[in-house]
C-alpha cells in the first residue's frame, strides 16, 4: 500500500504530515522523493546504513571514429550537442539521456558514460521505520530519473509513505502516480487555496484518489471552506495554527511526539485512508466484474 503526501505549495507542512504518518504506523517505509530539498531525515532522524550513487548517462564521442556528419545533433531534441567541426560539444545539463544520439550515430562513435546525478540513501529509524531518500546533486536539472530510483524502494508488503516534491510539475506527477492514495496538504491562505486547486487537477488527471489535510487551519478563511464544500472534497484532518507546533517543528520535533491529541488524530487518519483504499479496490474489482459479465 502506497500513500503519497503532496502539496501544491511548498512550506505547508507536507513533510511534517508525511513523517507523522510514518511514525504512527508500525513497520512503515518512508520514501522521500523531494530530491531537491529532502527534509524527511531531519524529522525522522534515521541512521543511514547505505549511500549509493544514481547515475545518468551522457554521450561521449570517440574522435577516432567521428566524421562530424552532424547526425547526432539532428536527432537531439534538447539541443544538448553542437558541432564545432573539430569537436562535438555536449551541454551536459541539457542532456536528458534519451540515448538517441548513440543509436543513430552512423560511425558508432558514441558511447554512453555514467555520471552521478545524485545519491540514494537508505537507513532505519530508532522505532524501526525503513527510510529512503534521494539527494539531487547541486546544479542538476533533471530530478525524474533519481525519483524513479528512490520509488523503486517501495515495499508492497508494507505501508509506504512517500513525501512528494512540492508543486505540480513532472517531478510531482512522477512521484504521485500509481499511489493508492494521495494526501494533499494545504494551509488556510489564498496561496494555499490557489495551489491546492492546481494539485487537485493533477491527482484527478492521473486517477489517484485523494483527500485534503489543512495545516495551520483557520476557520475564518471561508473561501477555502466554500471551495471544498462546493466541490465535495473531503477534509481528512485539520491541524490548527499553533505557535507551539511551529516551535517544536523548528527544532525538528514532530507534533505526534509532542501532543497525544495530534498523535491520536494521525492514527485515526491512517485508519480512514486504509478503509478508503479498501473500498476503492472493491469498487474497482466490482466494476471489472460487471465488465467481464
Amino acid at each position: 500500500m502506497t500513500i503519497s503526501v503532496a502539496s501544491g505549495k511548498g512550506g505547508t507542512g507536507k513533510t511534517t504530515v508525511a513523517a507523522s504518518l510514518a511514525s504512527v504506523i508500525p513497520q512503515s517505509v518512508y520514501i522521500d522523493c523531494d530530491v531537491e530539498e529532502p527534509n524527511g531525515h531531519l524529522m525522522l532522524q534515521p541512521k543511514f546504513t547505505l549511500e549509493e550513487s544514481v547515475n545518468k548517462l551522457l554521450p561521449e564521442i570517440d574522435y577516432n571514429k567521428c566524421d562530424f556528419c552532424g547526425k547526432c545533433i539532428e536527432v537531439c531534441e534538447f539541443n544538448a550537442l553542437i558541432n564545432l567541426k573539430f569537436e562535438i560539444l555536449l551541454f551536459a545539463e541539457m542532456c536528458h539521456s534519451c540515448g538517441a544520439c548513440e543509436y543513430f550515430c552512423p560511425q558508432n562513435a558514441i558511447t554512453e558514460i555514467p555520471k552521478e546525478l545524485g545519491k540514494l540513501r537508505s537507513g532505519i529509524t530508532e522505532n524501526g521505520i525503513k527510510f529512503y531518500d534521494g539527494l539531487l546533486n547541486i546544479g542538476e536539472a533533471t530530478a525524474v530519473p533519481l525519483i524513479r530510483k528512490v520509488k523503486a524502494k517501495i515495499d508492497n508488503e508494507k505501508i509506504n509513505i512517500i513525501d512528494s516534491p512540492p508543486g505540480t510539475s513532472c517531478s510531482m506527477v512522477e512521484t504521485v502516480k500509481n499511489s493508492d492514495f494521495c494526501l494533499l496538504v494545504t494551509e488556510s491562505t489564498p496561496f494555499g487555496l490557489n495551489d491546492l486547486k492546481l494539485a487537485i487537477d493533477v491527482v484527478k488527471n492521473i486517477n489517484v484518489p485523494f483527500g485534503v489535510v489543512i495545516n495551520k487551519y483557520d476557520e475564518t478563511f471561508e473561501e477555502m471552506e466554500n471551495y471544498l464544500t462546493e466541490n465535495q472534497i473531503e477534509v481528512m484532518l485539520r491541524i490548527p495554527f499553533d505557535r507551539k507546533i511551529a516551535e517544536a517543528y523548528s527544532n525538528g520535533i514532530l507534533p505526534v511526539n509532542n501532543s497525544d491529541k495530534i498523535r491520536r488524530e494521525f492514527i485515526g487518519l491512517i485508519a480512514t485512508i486504509k478503509k478508503k483504499i479498501k473500498s476503492n479496490v472493491t469498487q474497482m474489482t466490482q466494476k471489472k466484474q460487471i465488465f467481464a459479465d
Binding site: 501544491g8 505549495k9 511548498g10 512550506g11 505547508t12 513533510t15 531537491e36 530539498e37 527534509n39 531531519l42 536527432v75 531534441e77 534538447f78 545539463e93 536528458h96 534519451c98 540515448g99 538517441a100 543509436y103 543513430f104 539531487l136 547541486i138 546544479g139 542538476e140 536539472a141 533533471t142 530530478a143 525524474v144 524513479r148 516534491p165 512540492p166 508543486g167 505540480t168 510539475s169 513532472c170 510531482m172 506527477v173 512522477e174 502516480k177 491562505t189 489564498p190 496561496f191 490557489n194 495551489d195 492546481l198 487537477d201 493533477v202 488527471n205 492521473i206 495551520k216 483557520d218 475564518t220 478563511f221 505557535r243 511551529a246 516551535e247 517543528y249 523548528s250 527544532n251 525538528g252
Partner: protein, 288 residues
C-alpha cells in the same frame, strides 16, 4: 538596470511576501513571477489588465494505430517508461523523439504541444508584471522561466531601474533559469532545521554562479537559537544578513486580505524598507 532575484530553497518561508513588498515599494521597475508551478504573486499584486500568450514547451509523440504494425521497436527504445502496448502516455513522454525517428512505418506523430500560458500585466502603478502558469503535470518549467524572462526583458524601457524576480522553490532547473542575468539574490529563510538545510544547499548552488547574495531571516523569533546559527553560518560564508522579520500574524492576515505586507502594516513596511536599503548597499559593494 539591476536584477534582483528572491529565492528560498525551501517553500513557504515567505519568499513571495518579500517579493511583493519590494514590488510595491519600488518605482521604475518591472516584476516577474518565476514560480511557474505555483504562481502566487498575482494574488497580491492584483493586475489591472493582462494579455495572455501561449507557451509551447516542446514536442510529444503519439502513435497512429492505423499505421502501427506493432513491431515493438518504439517501446524498446523509450527510456521514459512512456510507451506501453503501442500507446504513449503523454504525461510520461519526455519529448525526445527517439520513437518517432526509429519507427519503421512512420506511425508516430511528433508535434508541438501547449504546456502553459504566460501573462503580461499592468499593475495599478502602471508598471509591468509578468507571470506564467504551467499546465498541471508539465515538465520543462525551466524553459518557461527562461521564456517569460526573455519576453519581459526585451521590452524594458530605458527608465526601468529594477527588475524584481520572485524565484521558484528548490535548487533545480527552473532556479538556474531564474538566475540568468541576476545582479543580486535575496534568500528568504526561516530558523527551522529544514530551512537551514535548504539554505545551505541553495548557497552551494549560488557559489557556482558567483552571484552576490544576502539573507533575510523570516520568523526569526520562532527559534532564536537557530536564528543565531544562521547568522553565524552567514558570517562564515561572508554573506550579509539583510534583516530579520518577526513571526507575526500580520503577515498571514495580509495574505488573507490579498494585500502586500507593506500595505497592511506600517511596522513591517519599515522593516522591508530597511532590508531594501541593505540590498542596494551590498549590491554596490559587490561592483568592485
Amino acid at each position: 538596470m539591476k536584477q534582483i532575484v528572491i529565492l528560498s530553497g525551501k517553500g513557504g518561508t515567505g519568499k513571495t511576501t518579500v517579493s511583493s513588498a519590494f514590488a510595491k515599494l519600488l518605482q521604475d521597475k518591472i516584476t516577474i513571477d518565476c514560480d511557474v508551478d505555483a504562481a502566487n504573486l498575482y494574488l497580491l499584486l492584483k493586475p489591472q489588465s493582462r494579455n495572455q500568450f501561449e507557451y509551447f514547451g516542446g514536442k510529444k509523440a503519439s502513435i497512429n494505430p492505423e499505421l502501427c504494425t506493432q513491431c515493438g521497436l518504439c517501446e524498446s527504445v523509450c527510456r521514459f517508461d512512456a510507451l506501453h502496448n503501442y500507446v504513449i502516455d503523454p504525461l510520461s513522454c519526455e519529448g525526445c523523439g527517439f520513437c518517432y525517428r526509429v519507427c519503421p512505418d512512420d506511425a508516430i506523430e511528433f508535434t508541438e504541444t501547449k504546456s502553459g500560458n504566460y501573462f503580461e500585466c499592468n499593475l495599478i502603478d502602471d508598471s509591468k508584471f509578468y507571470y506564467a502558469k504551467l499546465l498541471p503535470g508539465e515538465g520543462n518549467s525551466g524553459k518557461l522561466v527562461s521564456e517569460i524572462k526573455k519576453s519581459a526583458l526585451t521590452n524594458v524601457g530605458e527608465n526601468i531601474k529594477w527588475v524584481i524576480v520572485d524565484g521558484p522553490p528548490g535548487i533545480g532547473c527552473p532556479v538556474n533559469a531564474s538566475l540568468s542575468g541576476a545582479d543580486f539574490v535575496v534568500i528568504v529563510t526561516e530558523p527551522t532545521q529544514s530551512g537551514i538545510h535548504d539554505l545551505k544547499r541553495l548557497i552551494e548552488l549560488l557559489k557556482t554562479f558567483s552571484i552576490k547574495c544576502g539573507i533575510v531571516i523570516n520568523k526569526y523569533d520562532l527559534n532564536e537559537k537557530q536564528t543565531l546559527q544562521i547568522t553565524a553560518y552567514a558570517g562564515k560564508e561572508n554573506i550579509p544578513v539583510l534583516g530579520y522579520l518577526p513571526f507575526d500574524k500580520d503577515y498571514i492576515e495580509a495574505i488573507k486580505a490579498n494585500k502586500t505586507i507593506v500595505e497592511y502594516s506600517s511596522k513591517a513596511a519599515k522593516d522591508i524598507e530597511n532590508i531594501w536599503s541593505k540590498v542596494e548597499f551590498f549590491m554596490d559593494i559587490s561592483k568592485n
